[in-house]
């Protein structure tokens, strides 16, 4: 049976929406720059790429039409390389990896460029024309629930205190700042040309944040709640790309492979507690890999909110010291469609860097879903 591997991971810097260095950069063009760097750095022959699969949570305007195809053309990939766009909200680009893996297993191609992209500066969360179905709204209001509210619901139901959330958030910033200072993020980042100069570092990380500073913030979504801007991932601009190919192809062409995909899964949960999505999805993926959560040496759990990360760690019985070693989305930022590619690429990179056998990359998804990928060291 054909094995599927991750043979390259790059990303743009992640910067705060509206005020960061990438706010004035078109998302399709930024994604194309990152894809071009992926091709250059992995030294793959672009003729061999079957498809560009782009994950995007709000694929409209500058990241609209079929942005996957447009990114391929912008990146000067050969005309024969196809392109598609995938939307599974925050799970979009991880699911794009799953689609590539499935196609490889089917023998429908050997190499795929997966790219995730989101400019939250230029396309608002919810898009420009949010038009909920009156029928669904009457039946199940929570289908359209705001993400912040789900974070409050999870905090309440899983009894995650505000201080625990803040402690986790400070830890995320500390880990990300350390990784940044030690140059551990440098290799994955592709500098992006902007009208204001070259942007080459992450801009969301607050190395100086403290428990006291976070304790002073007002609740962001519910005046009586416990979730603040400090314990939520910031609105972010960014893009990430992963080279997914068959193990045979990688071996034949001498590509630097960082991990093998062992299993994948998606699963639904109640929309009002969507943050718990990693639990249902990871359990499925782990069962398919015949592994236990405790066997995971590396875990990348997307930090949409502190409350849902802590609840997921609790329910999956994960070792917190193995979670998000270089910090997570609370510190780095969460450009919705790009985060899945980042954390899957990161999990593969960490397996290689830190040693260990297995890694789990998992995310919650708005509307009530989870997605998970289990990786194995080569």
């Amino acid at each position: 049976m054909t094995n599927v591997v991750i043979a390259g991971f790059v990303r743009s810097p992640f910067t705060p929406a509206g005020k960061g260095s990438l706010a004035r950069v078109r998302p399709d063009e930024m994604a194309a720059d990152v894809v071009r760097a992926l091709i250059e750095r992995t030294q793959i022959n672009p003729e061999d790429v079957e498809d560009v699969i782009a994950g995007c949570a709000f694929p409209e305007a500058e990241q609209g039409l079929n942005v996957g195809r447009l990114i391929g053309l912008l990146a000067d990939l050969p005309i024969a390389v196809a392109g598609a766009t995938v939307n599974r909200f925050c799970g979009s680009s991880m699911y794009s990896i799953h689609m590539a893996a499935g196609a490889i297993k089917m023998g429908a191609g050997e190499a795929f460029v997966v790219v995730g992209v989101e400019s939250m500066s230029r396309v608002p969360m919810g898009g420009y024309n949010p038009l909920p179905s009156p029928r669904l709204y009457a039946k199940n209001k929570a289908a359209y629930i705001s993400m912040g509210e789900t974070a409050e619901n999870v905090a309440k139901r899983w009894r995650i205190t505000r201080s625990a959330q803040e402690e986790f958030a400070v830890g995320s910033h500390r880990k990300a700042a350390t990784a940044q200072r030690q140059g551990k993020l440098r290799n994955e980042i592709v500098p992006i040309n902007t009208s204001g100069g070259i942007c080459s570092i992450d801009e969301c990380i607050r190395s100086d944040t403290t428990l006291e500073a976070l304790a002073g913030l007002k609740p962001a979504f519910d005046a009586a709640g416990v979730v603040t801007a400090g314990t939520s991932s910031p609105l972010t601009d960014g893009t990430a790309a992963v080279l997914v190919c068959s193990e045979d192809y990688a071996m034949r062409h001498g590509l630097a492979v960082s991990a093998r995909i062992v299993s994948i899964a998606v699963a639904g949960c109640a929309p009002e507690i969507m943050g718990i999505g990693p639990v249902v999805a990871a359990r499925k993926a782990l069962a398919r890999a015949r592994l236990k959560a405790q066997s995971m040496d590396i875990v990348e759990l997307n930090e949409a909110f502190s409350s849902q990360v802590l609840a997921s760690i609790q329910d999956l019985d994960l070792d917190v010291t193995r979670v998000n070693l270089d910090g997570g989305a609370i510190a780095l930022g969460h450009p919705l469609g790009a985060s899945g590619a980042r954390i899957t690429g990161k999990a593969a990179q960490l397996l290689e860097r830190e040693g260990g056998k297995y890694a789990l990359a998992t995310q919650c998804i708005g509307g009530g879903q989870g997605i998970a990928t289990v990786l194995e060291a080569i």
């Binding site: 919810g126 038009l131 179905s133 912040g148």
Partner: protein
């Protein structure tokens, strides 16, 4: 012939220099702002950059839009002085020391281009001092341009020229400051402090000294030396806090140094230990930790305190909670100010001791600081925001009264006050205002070309149409002016009836109409084009359940505003100050708007629990939907209109009103308040030939119920966040229904008349709610919104 001024360089990025740069940039001109290189900083332009950053956060904002800041280029005088060669006007705003200014002039002279104008913003130093030893090539182009603080809001600009100054330079700078920057330019004689500060500093010193003498509290002195005489409500101590005690002291010291020993200023300019003690204690006024007033956070909210003057004189800085002055009811009663001056109280003694000296001093300076009284009155009105200048105050009191009361103070009566005899300083003759001159005869007040004031036009004329709320005046060339003049120009049935009549009248023999209001004595920010529909009347009708009456008024407003829109001639709205609610809707239906730069426009109905119902929702929606730059689909325009109306957003300038589309691309902005009517008339006359009324309103593509759900979800999020109150949710959900087109279907465009029906229906639903009525009552009672 010199070219018009197109660019300005300012040297000195202190509060004044930077604020002037902000104002010139707000007017749309590029500005180079230079300051020193700050030792120890890597960025050599750090000082100018910091000053520009401060402009963007300072309140009240020195900028008319955030965009303006981008027109200011920061620099420093070591690296960038050569760039002065590119600028038409170089304005020096450095510290008030000749030893700093003079070497700078030598450097400017070497690099500037021939014919560029160089001026100083000095507030007290005479031009003759500045001109000593300056390079001879500079003298013909050198003058004083003295702005008042804050430059955006204070209309006065004092201009001082020398015998060497080229007339062409004087003309260019006057025109630029008047037309482009909106200033009232007055020509002053070259004396210390020029006009406004000379009189203003005397007033402040005299009032402070007598407040101490009579043992008044800070708030008592300010209450008397404020509104009753038409002075700003900050009074004297509040004004010193606002200006800064350090600056007040500098101006006094400078005047003390420069004025001849015989000047009466020296008699009142005794050093006040209080001010010395405050400055020594680090209390510089409003810009610091307080001065005569200070505000403290307490467990029960903010507490305003005033300095105890007697304790402070002895060196103890002690503040006490502000108290409502007792026995001062007369101040609120609006009675003749003579009643206040003649009453048997310590307040009356204080009032006359100050006012008498102020009027006598002002009158004694005629001839020295200005050759006419009208200029002096204008300087005090626009430089110190007084409603009346000293000679207008004398006219209000009567010359004989002032002469008699001066005798009580054993003060000599100035010559011009003797000469005016039983007459007044101002009188009207055949439709012209005349002022009393030094030669003992009356002279007409000549307005600069392009200044058209309704107050002048009205002299000796009767309106074409009039009722209690509005009048129609013939402003010539076939143009009628519809003037709003009810209290705060609130709109009622009378206004609407007269507007309908006026439209009928213009159709028969006139070519255009301008809608306008004029309150030239209102201080900046307090003028009203219209505060909107008369809520008092609406409340009265609601109280007695006269719903049909309210229905009728809503329908009438909609019908007549549609008549304005469809009129077969151009209708130009000419706002200045606040144009809110129904006043804003009136502008939205005009052919075009010629707005004063200081126009504050907004649809504020949601604040009182209502929705705009005279076509405001439909017009704003249509404007946003016709913007090609908006993202496609039915929601972006709806969302923008919802954001603007639901937050009762009021633009902070005419320029900013463009961002909300209260003003459109083709609408004009006039910087000088006195030119608004003339510019509006000219705008009307430009459009009048072959005028075609706009085509019928285009139907709108609206999302209906799906869009409504989307907006109500956002409102619910605001409620959870604690931003929206319970009644906000009700009002905004109703507003969302209007803006999304009710039961509209995405593929069936909605006629604007259907939106008008929704506005009407929704307004009637909301006004019946007791929560909305509570909001209206609260605003009427307190002037503040109720958050229920």
């Amino acid at each position: 012939m010199d070219e018009k001024i197109q660019s300005v360089a300012i040297i000195g990025a202190g509060v004044m220099g930077a604020s002037i740069a902000g104002h010139i940039a707000s007017a749309g001109f590029p500005v180079l702002l230079l300051d020193l290189v700050k030792a120890g900083t890597a960025d050599r332009n750090a000082m100018a950059k910091t000053a520009i950053d401060r402009l963007e956060t300072a309140q009240p904002s020195p900028l008319m839009s955030q965009r303006a800041a981008r027109l200011i280029t920061p620099g420093n005088i070591e690296d960038d002085l050569w760039r002065l060669a590119e600028y038409d006007w170089i304005l020096e705003a450095v510290t008030e020391q000749l030893s700093v200014k003079k070497p700078l002039y030598d450097r400017i002279a070497k690099v500037r281009k021939p014919g560029s104008i160089v001026s100083s913003n000095t507030s007290t130093i005479p031009l003759s001092y500045l001109l000593l030893d300056v390079p001879s090539t500079l003298k013909p182009d050198f003058l004083i341009t003295h702005f008042f603080n804050p430059p955006r809001y204070m209309r006065l600009l004092e201009l001082v020229v020398s015998a060497h100054t080229r007339l062409e330079a004087v003309f260019r700078i006057s025109e630029f400051c008047d037309v482009a920057l909106g200033k009232t330019v007055i020509h002053c004689k070259d004396t210390p402090g020029f006009i406004a500060n000379r009189i203003g500093a005397y007033w402040l010193q005299t009032a402070a000294a007598f407040a101490l003498h009579y043992g008044l509290r800070v708030e008592e002195a300010d209450k008397i030396m404020g509104r009753p005489f038409g002075f700003p409500s900050t009074g004297i101590f509040g004004l010193m806090d606002l200006v800064g005690l350090d600056i007040t002291t500098q101006v006094n010291d400078s005047l003390a140094r420069l004025l001849p020993p015989v000047d009466a200023f020296h008699e009142v300019n005794r050093e006040l230990p209080i001010i010395r003690n405050l400055i020594a204690g680090g209390y510089l006024g409003k810009k610091g930790t307080g001065g005569f007033y200070r505000t403290r956070e307490t467990s029960s909210g903010q507490l305003t305190e005033t300095l105890c003057l007697t304790a402070a004189s002895a060196g103890d800085l002690e503040w006490r909670p502000i108290s409502a002055p007792q026995h001062l009811r007369i101040l609120e009663s609006g009675q003749d100010i003579k009643d206040l001056l003649d009453a048997e109280s310590v307040y009356s003694k204080f009032a006359w001791a100050v006012l008498g000296r102020l009027l006598a001093y002002s009158a004694s300076l005629i001839g020295e600081i200005s050759s006419d009284i009208a200029t002096v009155d204008e300087a005090m009105r626009f430089g110190y925001a007084w409603a009346y200048g000293p000679f207008e105050l004398i006219d209000r009191l009567g010359g004989a009264y002032v002469r008699k009361r001066l005798a009580d103070l054993t003060l000599p009566v100035p010559k011009i006050l003797v000469d005016v005899g039983e007459g007044k300083f101002y009188k009207e003759n055949n439709g012209t205002v005349l002022y009393f001159g030094l030669d003992g005869t009356y002279h007409p007040i000549i307005r600069p070309p392009g200044v058209l004031l309704l107050q002048d036009l009205k002299l000796g004329k009767i309106p074409v149409l009039t009722n209690r709320s509005a009048s129609v005046w013939d402003v010539g060339d076939g143009v009628l002016c519809f003037e709003l003049h009810s209290p705060m120009n609130a709109l009622d049935e009378d206004t609407l009836d007269l507007l309908e009549q006026a439209i009928g009248l213009v159709s028969k023999g006139h070519v255009a109409m301008v809608i306008y209001a004029e309150d030239l004595r209102a201080s900046p920010g307090h003028e009203n084009f219209s505060v909107g529909a008369n809520l008092g009347l609406a409340m009265f009708a609601a109280n007695i359940r006269m719903w049909p009456k309210i229905e009728q008024l809503v329908a009438k407003g909609q019908r007549i505003y549609q008549l304005v829109r469809a009129a077969p001639f151009p209708v130009i709205g000419a706002p200045a100050g606040r144009a809110l609610g129904g006043g804003c809707e009136m502008l939205l239906h005009c052919t075009a708007v010629q707005a004063h730069a200081e126009s504050y426009i907004g649809l504020v109905e949601a604040g009182v629990g209502l929705v705009p119902a005279w076509g405001g929702c439909a017009q704003l929606l249509a404007r946003w939907q016709s913007d090609n730059k908006m993202p496609h689909g039915p929601m972006p325009a709806v969302t923008r209109a919802f954001q603007i109306i639901s937050t009762a957003k009021i633009s902070r300038s005419a320029e900013e009103a463009r961002d909300q589309k209260f003003l459109q691309e083709h609408d004009g902005i006039t910087m000088n308040r006195h030119r608004v009517l003339n510019d509006a008339k000219a705008h009307a006359l430009r459009l009048a030939p072959n005028y075609e009324p706009p085509s019928p309103s285009q139907p709108l593509q609206l999302p209906g119920r799906s869009g409504w759900i989307s907006l109500t979800m956002a409102v619910e999020d605001f409620r959870k966040k604690g931003i929206a109150t319970a009644h906000d949710v009700t009002v905004l959900n109703h507003l969302a229904r209007v803006l999304t087109g009710g039961d509209a279907n995405l593929i069936e465009p909605v006629a604007q008349s259907a939106i008008l029906d929704l506005e009407h229906q929704t307004f009637m639903e909301l006004i019946r709610l007791k929560e909305t009525q509570s909001r209206i009552k609260h605003v009427l009672d307190t002037g503040k919104p109720l958050r229920n």
